[in-house]
Symmetry: C2
């Protein structure tokens, strides 16, 4: 059961002018579930994406990179679940291209204007013919208000569909919308991107701004979460700007309207990324790890990820056991050679309760076991670490490690 | 239940001339269990050690480093379980020093000739007075044949005591003995050393050779295992050479007798390290990850550890599910930027059965799911990876991730 996350109310998901969506049951791996999604974009839309750094990156990721690097402006995204089309060699690449071609034919656009995405089991061939068969009916039913359908159709081991919207009013009174969906629950330790995240806005953004924003938003959201430390072969995060809600183009980063849009895009991205952690496989706790006063952001991230990846820390959270020495051990092996253990302070925090746990290289003298136990009982907990060696900071979100993580992943293919 | 590991037969554990051992129930954390061990060494013994790289290293590790760096030759080791004496600040250091002093008084040696070791819960104070109270009776009962008692007394979440012996006959007919013990089951990803490992020989080794050998042996054994990727605060591996079985000193590395001793020391160390993996928390499978034809040993180790640490790979082994894409994904995110996925080959092997799983960036054409399933059913499995880019190789041993890992670590302190 996801941590403080329920399916969104469809009426809270605002259509984005210039975007229509449709889903189908293509029967790609199992029958009777929606497993194919098409997102069609109005002419003039701009798209930027960031993708997995995994060397075994999936065929659709390779095709996406190719199409985004070319001259053609994307007009459609096609997403299948069930089969990841990763570890599939030359045949996999061919299958991804055939998928693009099939979409281009039913929509009347060019194949290189289609971006393909897959998620599911690695090493199995993609049954393209099932996608080709399902597409004609699917595209007759594209609708601007089908965001929740799409959020459901891209789920794999997710238990809750993930979607959210924000609207911002610009200086001239124009209202622009940002709506996004994401999926993912396991194999989650995005590196430059995430499992699958799609955020669209009808703001009009110059391409250089859009390219910068997709990276900023990824860094503040999908690149700051982990469930199990496994970086997927298919991670993709895409930001779409249709421009359909406004005529003026936002082209400079200090434009006040751009700042509003930027803040809302980051907010939506972060919500979607945190939703993946809340729905992390077997998750019962949502943990924020905040590392402050480091010498660099990179070392703060190292410490935060060492804590967030430690199976011992994660099982202690699952057990609501304030076994805090495990947090100190993780800080100690994070790989910062000249770290001074005696200078570090660690707090456990939940709902306004802030408990100093460690200082001076050991347990804080004010610490009482019952205080730690009280904080650990909450479903949302923050571990705050003060490295006392600089001005940088970083935040990582993760979940606990429970029996259900093992059950879900032992049974994944059955 | 440990994987193909049972308590050793006491008669298979050979005394090492110059070494006597004793254990006691000191009641350090729980009553009624042996939790204190003293290993006394004859004059003239030489000792070398390697210790955790964790910045939050335990107080006894700091004192060991100090004493080994000084002029005094060690005459005794004292080991307690229950409390790790890590994350205990200045008081912890004082407690480790008091422990050394107490041992020195009952044995009639100097405090700086005593090496202290602790393992157990982090962040809790060490009750030195309990150790002081138990020592006088303990030292009246030091025996050369108490290796198995010591192996039991250093256990924490271990389910099986770990000890083994080898003997080698030197060129002049002298027989030298190598006997060692180890403990550890969780928080296992040693970095330059392991949880606790003690190996003694009655061979006479020059100090420079001993110093080199402890590192070589650690690299070939404890530094090549992982259970959960957590590097402990207390990892220590110590090699003792009493010299009591021979008068000649082995002083050069190409001496044939030294090579025999060296091989046996490495064999004992590796057996003890593998025993920790076999008894890994919740382990049902013993996995060897062998990475071959890499450009460097370091990159082979990176790939091997990426596979060995992946919770998804580990749960697939637990489920006996040949979900091999997870192995490819782990190779892909191991951090080798210019890796060519199309050149890599991966085999699954067990008891002479060798199945080519992946090649050309995807599933091998000869691969059949039933072959993978057959190999995965074994309790001992090798994953062999050919990187096809050099002559280096590395091996890492690990276990699977089961429900019991979560149960053991969720309940550890209760």
């Amino acid at each position: 059961m996801a941590v403080n996350l329920t399916a969104p109310d469809p009426k809270d998901l605002r259509p984005v002018a210039g975007v229509r969506l449709g889903v189908a049951e293509a029967g790609i791996r199992k029958a009777g579930r929606r497993d194919l999604t098409v997102i069609s974009l109005a002419p003039g839309s701009r798209v930027a994406g960031v993708f997995t750094q995994n060397r075994f990156c999936a065929a659709p990721v390779q095709v996406c990179r190719e199409h985004l690097a070319g001259e053609a402006a994307p007009r459609a995204l096609v997403i299948n679940t069930g089969v990841a089309n990763a570890g599939t060699g030359a045949e996999g690449l061919e299958a991804a291209r055939r998928t693009c071609k099939a979409v281009s034919q039913v929509l009347g656009v060019e194949p290189q204007e289609v971006l393909p995405f897959s998620t599911g089991v690695i090493l199995e061939p993609l049954p393209v013919e099932k996608i080709e068969a399902a597409l004609p009916a699917l595209v007759t039913n594209l609708r601007p208000d089908a965001w929740l359908d799409a959020a459901y159709a891209i789920m794999t081991t997710d238990t809750v569909p993930k979607a959210c919207s924000r609207q911002v009013r610009l200086s001239d009174g124009t209202v622009v919308t940002i709506t996004g969906i994401s999926k993912g629950a396991g194999m989650i330790r995005p590196n430059m991107a995430t499992m699958l995240g799609f955020v669209a806005t009808d703001a009009r953004l110059a391409k250089p701004l859009l390219d910068a924003l997709v990276r900023e938003a990824a860094d503040e959201s999908f690149n700051a979460i982990t469930v199990d430390g496994d970086t997927s072969t298919n991670d993709s995060f895409v930001l779409i700007a249709t421009g359909a809600a406004m005529s003026r183009e936002l082209a400079v980063s200090d434009d006040e309207d751009y700042r509003k849009v930027r803040a809302a895009v980051i907010e939506v991205s972060r919500w979607l990324a945190q939703a993946i952690v809340r729905d992390g496989e077997g998750a019962t706790k949502f943990i924020t790890v905040r590392v402050e006063r480091g010498a660099s952001r990179e070392e703060c991230r190292k410490v935060a990820y060492a804590i967030a990846h430690s199976p011992l820390v994660k099982t202690a959270f699952f057990a609501s056991d304030p076994n805090l020495g495990r947090i100190l051990a993780a800080i100690g092996y994070a790989g910062i050679d000249d770290l001074d253990p005696a200078a570090i302070r660690v707090w456990l925090e939940a709902e306004g309760d802030s408990i100093l746990v460690a200082e001076g290289g050991g347990r804080a003298s004010s610490y009482r076991e019952e205080d730690g136990a009280r904080v650990m009982k909450h479903a949302e907990i923050t571990v705050r670490v003060d490295l006392a060696r600089g001005e940088a900071a970083a935040t990582v979100w993760t979940c606990d490690l429970s029996f259900d993580y093992v059950r879900i992943n032992a049974e994944y293919r059955s």
